[in-house]
């Protein structure tokens, strides 16, 4: 009975929230936010976090003198967040350059589907549909379980997180490569690159060789832009020659949308499961969409019947991480609203806004400012619907970019790659890193080394080390902490099993091969 009462009370509050969010002024701000977010997501070097930060001063006026007060202000900022989530995938899929850190994973299958298989509209619409469904599932979870989940998330300590990161790596061993050894080598290289710079625990410089520029480390965005964006340009020049013209399907429209829906129907459970996992990852403070998207990709691949198609334009490789990334972004609002602990960098900036507007995030927010909380919740539903509609309408136009002449599109990709890597830290060193990794990416591709494990390790390497050492600090140096709680032990066992899967599979295949040779002899 209590559950039913709670359910109807939540629905009543949500209806009130829709009443707030649907007010013309709030709806206008939401549309502006989503549109600006889309542009910010598409532009290299600008992310949801910087977009929200740029508009934070304007929200002070909206909160103080607008008709909707702080609710209108947060609706604008959240709209930018959702818009950037959708927009970030566009450059990944069309140019092989990640618009946002969480869209890095779309380089693995989004670009191959758009370019190599000649289906840019299918790639884009797959990602938009998955984003929308992932966000919708996450918003439903947010609506009903925000407060309860926030408390559970606090029980998820460094040992449990470390096990989850190990699981992410384990799912990628053997990806796109005949040899798991090559994947392991790429993971090692990624972890090594992530370790360059100051050690965050002791402050000691590592692998810097007395170079000041490297002290702050090697950022994964310049590396990724180089490996994929620049590397692809060089590889295409070799494989297809200079000046080739793309032969892509010129027909985009309802047919592609229907094809996407058919493909989505086949993968709906994968999308739902990865959305729930992504949401949970977002709820864990300090992680957010990037780690969620990688985990979503890894798990989808691990349990897919079409493993061999991953990295070559597999639609599950687009839908799963994208659903996880969007769900993760929604999830990152849970600890912010319910506990006052930001779940991602963007939600940290939104939380700064809450303080500026005179609100105190935390459990009391639900009691003291229900209009605000439920207005924000309703705007998450509406914001995603609006952004999704804008994106789907723009798919035919976006897909036509792939038809641009080689002599325009190639230098343009190089230029936006330079902007993307430079504008992160205003550093030419990052641009040099991008160019250098362009050659590395080209060479690794040529030598048939998988790039995905390398990128995952660079992105998650820092967090993995941090959680490992935090766990050991908490336990006074005892490794037993990794199996000290039932949750940690279960996750660690799962991680070990996932690590052993490719080894066992390799041994089985070898035995089967030997048996068939003996049989033939």
């Amino acid at each position: 009975m209590d559950i039913l009462n709670g359910f109807t009370s939540t629905l009543g509050s949500l209806a009130g929230g829709f009443g707030t969010a649907l007010q013309p002024f709030n709806l206008l701000l939401l549309s502006i936010g989503c549109f600006l977010g889309l542009i910010i997501g598409v532009l290299p070097g600008l992310g949801g976090t910087s977009g929200v930060a740029i508009l934070l001063p304007i929200t002070v006026f909206i909160a103080n003198s607008g008709p909707g007060g702080a609710t209108s202000a947060v609706i604008l900022l959240a709209g930018i967040y959702w818009g950037a989530l959708f927009g970030g995938v566009i450059t990944s899929i069309l140019f092989n350059i990640p618009g946002e850190p969480w869209s890095v994973v779309l380089l693995f299958d989004g670009f191959p589907l758009a370019k190599r298989l000649g289906k840019p509209a299918l790639a884009l619409s797959s990602s938009f549909f998955a984003s929308f469904i992932g966000a919708f599932i996450a918003t439903v979870l947010f609506t009903f379980f925000a407060r309860a989940l926030a408390d559970v998330a606090l029980a998820f300590g460094p040992a449990e997180l470390f096990a989850v990161f190990i699981m992410s790596f384990a799912t990628l061993i053997g990806l796109g490569s005949e040899s798991p050894a090559k994947s392991v080598m790429m993971i090692g290289l990624g972890l090594l690159l992530a370790a360059v710079g100051f050690d965050t625990i002791t402050g000691a410089p590592r692998l810097t060789f007395d170079r000041i520029e490297i002290l702050s480390g090697i950022g994964f965005v310049p590396v990724t832009i180089g490996l994929f964006g620049m590397g692809e340009i060089l590889a295409s020049a070799e494989e297809q020659g200079i000046g080739f013209v793309e032969r892509l399907s010129a027909k985009v429209g309802v047919k592609d949308i229907l094809e996407t829906l058919r493909e989505l129907r086949k993968r709906i459970w994968t999308v739902v499961v990865t959305a729930v996992i992504g949401f949970w990852f977002g709820v864990l403070p300090g992680h957010g969409a990037t780690a969620g998207s990688f985990l979503g990709y890894g798990l989808a691949r691990q349990y897919s019947k079409n493993k061999e198609n991953f990295g070559k334009g597999e639609i599950t490789g687009i839908m799963a991480p994208q659903a996880a990334a969007d769900a993760s972004a929604v999830g990152s609002l849970v600890p912010m609203v319910a506990l006052g602990v930001p779940g991602s960098p963007t939600s940290a900036v939104i939380m700064a806004g809450l303080f500026i507007w005179g609100l105190q995030p935390g459990p009391l927010l639900f009691i003291d400012h229900p209009d605000f909380v439920w207005g924000l919740t309703a705007s998450i539903y509406l914001g995603h619907l609006l952004t999704f509609t804008m994106c789907i309408l723009a798919v035919p136009l976006l897909a036509r970019i792939m038809h641009a002449p080689y002599a325009i599109i190639t230098p343009f990709i190089v230029i936006i790659s330079i902007i993307g890597s430079y504008s992160l830290n205003n550093s030419m060193f990052d641009v040099f890193i991008t160019i250098a990794f362009g050659f590395v990416g080209y060479w690794l591709r040529k030598m048939k080394y998988p790039l995905a494990p390398l990128v995952v390790a660079i992105v998650l390497g820092d967090s993995t080390e941090r959680e490992l050492r935090k766990a050991l600090i908490a336990s006074g140096g005892s490794p037993l902490i990794f199996v000290g709680s039932p949750l940690a032990a279960t996750l660690m066992i799962l991680a070990v099993i996932l690590l052993l899967v490719p080894v066992v599979r390799g041994l089985r295949e070898r035995r089967a091969r030997n048996a068939s040779v003996e049989h033939a002899a």
């Binding site: 532009l43 600008l46 040899s179 290289l189 060789f209 060089l234 325009i408 160019i435």
Partner: protein, 149 residues
Amino acid sequence: MILIAAVAMFDSRASALPDPTGRFPGGLGPGFYPFWSAAMIAAAALVVVYRWYRSTDTGEGVFATREAWTAPLKIALPMIAAVAVIQWIGFYFVTGLYMGFFARFIGRYRWVWVVVIAVVFPALIYLAFEKGFRVFLPKSILFEQGFPL
């Protein structure tokens, strides 16, 4: 790869092993993580080398034809040149020259279109980044003397 791993292992050897003496918080020094990451590279590299050694497939060489290495080089050299001169002539001039170069010598566009491309693209980027989002891209050495770009 083996060389990279060896250099990294040598550089981080001082604190490669867990240290129970309490010198480092949690017993792990700054060298533990890079050392064992490098060790992972070295071990996997040895497996790859062993497999290559045992393999009977001779392959067709790294570059199949002359065009296979000259084509990437034709793309790479202007890219390197563009990045190398950014700090002197600034991002916007580099963008104009680089895009114009491609339009003329790869796309074989007429000069009038080359000029249009070389002006329009940097102008749009300037408006979007510098004016719209206040993201400042590298300027030329004349910027300090009051030149706007």
